[in-house]
Amino acid sequence: MNHYTILNPIIGGILIGAASLLATVESGKIPGISGVFGRLLVAETPDKVWRGIFLLGLIGGAAASFFLWQSAAIYRPLRPLFIMAIAGLLVGFGTRLGGGCTSGHGVCGVGMGARDSIVATMIFIAIAIVTVFLYNRIAL
């Protein structure tokens, strides 16, 4: 897989769905990345071990893929670091306020047909589209 083709997003999506399913069965929780990570930052969270192990696996799996396949290693940053800092703060705050991100609401919640997740997913995609539209006109 040296060249990025239509197979990349299809295979990648299937893997993400299968990984989420496996993590759900083993942890008994909805394994949205923002929730898995965010709850590591709460002192009272009882099940920190699987969360930490899952996230280490995620980082390691990605690192191995960047190394193994050129199509996975494609990386084109578009934003200056100070914008990334603001974006990080907003993503962290928003995902924990709204109870999920692209994986928890977008993949798991939508996959189970949960109404709140469908609404959340429509909202964050719509706002992100408007944000990109405005950014491209204001910042350039």
Binding site: N8, L41, G60, G94
Partner: protein, 139 residues
Amino acid sequence: MNRGRLILCLLAGVLFGVGLAISGMTDPARVIGFLDVTGNWDPALLFVMAGAVSVYGLGMRSLGRFGNRGLKLPSAAPGPLDRRLVVGAAIFGLGWGLGGFCPGPALANLGAVRAEALVFVPLMALGMFLAQRIFKADR
């Protein structure tokens, strides 16, 4: 949690990271390309979501129907459609459009020690900490 389950959680994490990287979702230009509907639109994210949602949805439905042998599955009951959900999703969408990173890809890019991830992830953690401090971890 026993060792077997922890190993399978590690495997799930590895598969998730491989999936993110192969799908191209760790590339902020591809994510922003999907969000840039009036520009040079890149549909990749749609294929990723379609694949992931189908596999997860079909899997959960089959497990719920056939696999009930001591399996502890999370409740499929949706949470409330409240102001917290709407405002949180909107703030997340704003940050996602600004940076082109959502939490999974941001963490995955730590695996390549990329500058954007090194800046983004600690501030994401701060944002999460603050939201959970002020509004509790459960929505």
